[in-house]
Amino acid sequence: MFLGSRVTRRLSWLIPLLALVVIAACAKDFPQTTLAPKGDLARIEDDLFYTTVKWATLVFILVEGALVYAIFRFRGKPGDAEPPQVHGNTIVEIIWTVIPALILVMIAVPTVKAIFKENETPRGTPLTVEVIGHQWWWEFRYPEFNLTTANELHVPVGRIISLKMGAFDVVHSFWLPEFAGKRDVFPNRETRLWFNAEEPGEYSGQCAEFCGIQHARMAFRVVAMPPADFQGWLDHMKSITVRSAAGPQADSVHTSTAGGAVQQDNKAAPQAPGAAADSAKLAPAQAQTPQVAQGQKLFLMKGCVGCHSLVAYNAPKGLLGPNLANVGARSYIAAGTLPNTDENLAHWIRFPQEVKHGVLMPNLGVTEEEAKALVAFLRTHR
């Protein structure tokens, strides 16, 4: 049958669109590609895509072929006699109405099946993750574990992940090409999506609905881990918090003043009460170097704490900036804008408006020395 094995399906690309297949073949050069699905939902979408491509290719060859043939075959010369004046042909016209209809049935049947499969509630006990789109970063919450993180979603391999999604401000779209396709997120309604990761690894996704000036810089990573590692990660995230809570209390007067200043700058949305105080419980367990201690102080003084929380467990909601509890270990900063090197992080802290113009984080007048201290401090949060 024309819709046969996977091999013939891949081969159907070859005939008309050779260049295309060359590009499609080396999927590893395209880390965000939709053509190399690595999860069930993406595979449903990909199968349907290839079904449509196959038929489209067939129609393309036949119709463009007929067109090009007719152009060469019936090319006239000046002085040719008038060709036969044909006005139509009912039988031919019926045939070319019915055949496309049949082809559409061949596409429509798998489409409708896939629609229902895609909308089915995933079986088993899925891991629920809440996704909240913000201008221009992603917040991820694990209600089961009362953990919050940002821009880097850790998931266990092999388990269905059920996403309950919303937006903090405007409409965004959560797009994870290798696992799930995309689903829009709205400020006033919950939308859902599910996926499962088959292999451990780091995968990339990004916002797909235009959401303002930095829509282009609103990416995220998904880190798929073997279940045991994921459990380890969960324990680790909780332990950060436990150790932090045991640390010395920061000066709450400083904290709230600094937070207030940032909010005025930004005409910001309301901050959850107690967020700053929570965030202030932030001493890392290991012995502090003087630089780290200075960084900790600056984190309060410069107002960072007004928008960013450093606790993952039972973290405050409604903050303007991403949670930084494990920022030291993330592979990217500023929602996929820069690789998380010390240099980049320092530059970002000093000049957010240059790196990501229009972002809600203002230039805070951080000196080079201060940035280094802040980086040292943030590196301890991993």
């Binding site: 295309l20 590009i23 499609a24 395209f30 880390p31 965000q32 590609t33 939709t34 349907l48 895509f49 449509t52 491509v53 489209a56 129609v59 067109l67 007719a70 152009i71 019936f74 006239g76 010369k77 006699a81 008038e82 044909v86 139509g88 031919v92 016209e93 070319w96 109405t97 496309p100 559409l104 596409i107 429509a108 489409t111 409708v112 896939a114 629609i115 499969k117 895609e118 401000d169 405007v170 409409v171 779209s173 797009w175 090409p177 396709g181 829009d184 709205f186 990339s204 797909a208 609905e209 235009f210 959401c211 303002g212 000036i213 810089r217 990416a219 996929g336 804008t337 113009h357 229009g358």
Partner: protein, 623 residues
């Protein structure tokens, strides 16, 4: 309508054509209105093209800093808005205005002053929208302006104000034209031209008018709700106040999908005229062509939510909108097959208009096929909002609409301006456009499937987007070069080409029976039509080409009197909306001035005599 004939015995002293700026300001002649559309649409088309080139330069390499994110977002918003509302739609208007009355054997349109009003509103609306650049406040929320990004909270500047008010102004223009041509086609056809004898361009235009009449009120309502949200603090689309951004999406696409057919149906019509003439063979399957057009338009109102599959509407709605969308492929396929049936067995003359018409078919097939691909909601969950969709709609709207409109431009240019465009330059233009177009837009399919979202001002290294984006930028400049050749062609032939004959292509329709360019009254004698290709029938009866038609004096023909009230009335709209925008700063005075101008214009328009007995001279009201 004046049907009294003057006869071909030309009177000794034929009055000269009216000239000068004032004659253009007060014109109600459908052919001059068409030329005003031509000038406006060309300027805006090149503006939109320059915007596109800037976008392509910015995307030529990863992490580029050629234009910042702020300006980039303005550029892509204005590129889309301009190309749709200020270029492709008014380019269709050129041909509605110039060609429809000639094709149906009429001396003018049903409402000549409404026609003039329409073009002035379009020109002023386009200026209003583009004036935003002067204030650094060009619209920046995308051409579909999704709520709630457009709310006062997230778009505090005047950017969105310019967009929503500019589109309201342009909507008035479109509705005026739709009413006018709907009535013109119904009422002013020459004796014997039954509906099923109308040229296909007139049929497709007629369907377009119905779409305009039904679709534009919806976007107007949506824009008014948005205006109330922004100016008067209502919450139609503001979630914090209980509103719903999804409401905007539904309203927008109930307009937006028929809008796609508003953009493409006129091009369907144009190539349905060009293909038979250059195949020397009548259009294949006339009735099927008519009904497939009607069917497309009807279904076009039932598929809007295929723009919203990613919003998660649930399996039932997804299934309905998916199947309805797939159904459209059937009548569209019928059209494509009938076009191929038209050239099949013909004697093809590959003149420039024909090349563009054939290019249209080849490119539109691609756009149609990728359209069927994302009619499948699960597949669309990957494709929507990526460059795959950008590729798709450019294959439809550039490979389709623009190729068709350019075919029409080369085809009717001699009729409109009395000069044939140069064939060699025309062919260079065609090949540059075909190659440049595919180089620009084909890689977009790939880069989209490989994960590049649309509307991003930049992309990072390492995602594999670099090479294809570079190719697209090169293609865009080749495409631009094609249009530069067309401009040069116009300039060159304007100066040096000999006058074109009345019927340079062996045309089949009535416009080729009168001098190029036609005189103000088009037909000294209203023709009688007995078939679908009236001019071919006349030539066949005569056994050879018809004699070159003579220019006549037009003595005794009643034509509409010139009027400047349409322009005055049109001016009131930008005045009114500027007043609205400035109301918080200067108080309501601007609004008062706008409303006063509106009533002043309409009042004088109503009480002005509308016909003159001698061309160019004001006379008594005819009716």
């Amino acid at each position: 309508m004046a049907t009294t004939a003057v006869g071909h015995e030309a009177l000794a002293a034929a009055p000269g054509e009216k000239t000068g700026l004032w004659s253009w300001i007060t014109t109600v002649d459908h052919k001059r209105v068409a030329i005003l559309y031509l000038i406006g649409a060309t300027v805006f088309f090149f503006l939109g093209g320059i915007e596109a080139l800037l976008l392509r330069i910015q995307l030529a390499k990863p992490d580029n800093n050629f234009v910042g994110p702020e300006f980039y977002n303005q550029l892509f918003t204005m590129h889309g808005t301009t190309m749709i509302f200020l270029a492709v739609m008014p380019m269709s208007q050129i041909f509605f205005n110039y060609i429809i009355p000639l094709m149906i054997g009429a001396r003018d349109v049903a409402f000549p002053r409404l026609n003039a009003f329409g073009v002035w509103v379009f020109l002023l609306g386009g200026l209003f929208l583009n004036a935003s650049f002067l204030f650094g406040a060009a619209p920046d929320a995308g051409w579909f302006g999704y709520a709630n990004l457009t709310s006062k909270q997230f778009s505090p500047g005047m950017h969105v104000d310019f967009w929503m008010l500019g589109l309201q102004i342009l909507g008035v223009s479109s509705l005026a034209a739709a009413v006018n041509f709907f009535v013109t086609i119904i009422n002013l056809r020459a004796p014997g031209m039954r509906l099923m004898r109308m040229p296909m361009f007139v049929w497709m235009s007629f369907i377009t008018m119905i779409l305009l009449l039904l679709a534009f009120p919806v976007i107007t309502v949506a824009l008014i709700l948005l205006m109330f949200d922004r100016f008067f603090g209502t919450h139609f689309f503001v979630p914090a106040g209980g509103g719903d951004p999804i409401l905007w999406q539904h309203l927008f696409w109930i307009f937006g999908h028929p809008e796609v057919y508003i953009l493409i149906l006129p091009a369907f019509g144009i190539i349905s005229e060009v293909l038979p003439v250059f195949s020397r063979k009548p259009l294949f399957g006339y009735a099927a062509m008519v009904f497939s057009g009607v069917f497309i338009a009807f279904l076009g109102f039932g598929v809007w939510s295929h723009h919203m599959f990613s919003t998660g509407m649930g399996p039932i709605a997804d299934t309905f909108f998916s199947l309805a969308t797939m159904l459209i492929a059937i009548p569209t396929g019928v059209k494509i097959f009938n076009w191929i049936g038209t050239i099949w067995g013909g004697s093809l003359q590959l003149k420039t208009p024909m090349l563009f018409a054939l290019g249209f078919i080849a490119m539109f097939i691609m756009g149609g096929l990728s359209g069927v691909m994302h009619a499948s909601p699960p597949a669309d969950l990957q494709q929507t909002d990526t460059y795959f969709v950008v590729a798709h709609f450019h294959y439809v709207l550039f490979g389709g609409s623009i190729f068709g409109l350019v075919a029409g431009a080369y085809y009717w240019w001699p009729k409109m301006f009395g000069k044939l465009l140069d064939e060699r330059l025309g062919k260079i233009h065609f090949w540059l456009q075909l190659i440049g177009f595919n180089l620009t837009f084909f890689p977009m399919h790939m880069v989209g499937l490989h994960g590049m979202p649309r509307r991003v001002y930049t992309y990072p290294k390492g995602l594999g987007f670099d090479g294809m984006n570079q190719m697209e930028t090169v293609g865009a400049f080749i495409l631009a070069a094609g249009f530069a050749v067309m401009l040069y062609n116009i300039w060159k032939t304007w100066r040096t080409a000999p006058p074109a004959p009345a019927d340079p292509w062996n045309g089949a329709t009535l416009e080729w029976s009168i001098p190029s360019p036609p005189q103000e009254w088009n037909f000294p004698e209203i023709p009688t039509v007995t078939g679908r290709d009236p001019l071919w029938e006349a030539k066949r009866q005569r056994g050879g080409p018809l004699p070159e038609p003579q220019r006549v004096s037009g003595q005794g023909i009643h034509m509409p009197a010139p009027s400047y009230w349409p322009l005055v009335t049109a001016l009131s709209l930008p005045l009114l909306f500027t007043g609205l925008m400035l109301a918080s700063k200067i108080g309501p005075w601007g609004i008062f001035i706008g409303v006063a101008t509106l009533f002043f214009g309409i009042y004088n328009w109503l009480f002005e005599p509308s016909y003159t007995s001698i061309p160019g001279v004001r006379g008594k009201a005819h009716h």
